[in-house]
Amino acid sequence: MKITFWGVRGSLPSPGTGTVRYGGNTTCISVETDDGQLIVLDAGTGIYKLSQALLGRLPVSCSLFITHTHWDHIQGLPFFIPLFIPGNRIQIYGAFDPISGKSIKDVLSGQMEYCYFPVRQDELRAEIHYMTLHEKQTVEIGQAKVTTILMNHPVLNFGYKIECGGKSVFFTGDNEPLYNIYSPGDDFHQEYGSLISSKDATLLDFIHGIDVLIADSAFTADEYPAKKGWGHGTFDSCIAMARKAGANKLYFTHHEPLRRDEDLDAIERRLREHYPAGEGMPSFTIAYEGLEILL
């Protein structure tokens, strides 16, 4: 399995001199399986770079899994060039939207409406299929299995686990660890706490022993209190998740748009001091555009 990061930024693309090393594109990760299948996770602006790379290997057949439909995870989709080329085959997967009652196809076609984009969905020339997924559904892509789990974000967000040839990777999409909305004295505090424990246990069981964990670490622990409820994790919460799940390697992603390269370097130094290598500690890396992981 080869995993490549094409976009590691959250919320908004962040070009400029301050982000050249880690990159300014929003979320897009590709996973090439041992039997040559191409799986793409999210369609932030990083997908544009991926599409350039794919032009040399037409026709393209790929499976695109959308964690959720917030802008930074879909804004590159209309610029995914393989969609325009006849002979390519693209399968798009994602969650149902319970608020509007819409399928992933309905939601995504909205962004190609006339007022937003010059080409309508009907005019795309590749063979495109859509599939709305439910939780814990497994899709087989060649020898790989991709399975969904609901994470915690202000919109439904699937984490995707990809398993192939005895190796596994899990991408959280956007995720904030669950927290108790009640104070310790409140009537429902204990009940809510046990609901959280049960949901957390389900997640940890789902990703137990994962080889690679790619997780949303938008905030530092210091920044988090002001951003509680926004639907994102911290570097520390990701390390905690990786440790509890027994993950082998952890990659931090969804960097804040204002985070400069030197800020991320400084965060990494602090994390290495605070979490020295040792038993039970996964190796961790702050993901950057172009980073490749071979499994």
């Binding site: 319970p98 608020i99 509007s100 009652g101 709305t132 439910h134 609901l150 809510y192 609901l195 639907g231």
Partner: protein
Amino acid sequence: MVEQMPAFPRSVYRVMELASDINCDPKELVEVIEHDPVLILKILKVVNSPYFSLGQKITSVNHAVVYIGLNTVKNLAMSTATIGALPRKNKAGFDMDAFLLHSLATATIARLFARELGVPVKESFDYFVSGLLHDFGKAVLAHFTPDEFQMALTIAKERQVPLYMAENEIFDIDHSLIGSLLGERWRLPANLVASLKGHHCLEGDRLPLTSVVAAANQVSKWLQIGDSGNPILEKMPDAIAEQFGEDFGTIVERLGGVTDEIEKAKVFIQG
């Protein structure tokens, strides 16, 4: 009969209010939902639907918040809240589905008017709720006095007079007054109550909310979306005509995307 109506809509209003505050307290939202059986039922129905196929049954609002997240529950409550207030069946032969569609169209158009008039987003919920509830008095009449209300519907249709005139002839009161009494009982804000009362008074200066709901009512009738039981298309209220003119086609064009918005809002009345 107003006293006998269920008291759900206060929670509806509260949900709307909480949902318009980005920093709303999650506990408070859960509490409001938990006190409204219609809301709880709808939320649990969606969370336990095959779309999620969760490994276990979700049995409480808190449980739903843990699983699908606070924001999704909030939005689900908002899209469900208003419609849960309306009884779905009556013996007056009054088509409640068509009535709900008319109410929803009026609500949506009222919100578009509000946008066009530069009303702040937070306040535009009042326009939506007011549009949705403007004919609520009819649901009360149809529910409690089905035979007489059926007669009023027939008179309006056969003589081609506005329904409220036929109601006045039979009941000596009309749905706008009943709606406003109900609004008072539900402790809705005063401007909202005034709009329920005044939505058929088309002359002179009214509160903006009243004029807008009156105008939205006419526009939705002109578009023939749903059916309020009133066969007569009336004129634009003076205050709106001054700013938007009297021509319905031009007004709809200026509001922009009316039918699309109504399509989107239909999720409110899906069972």
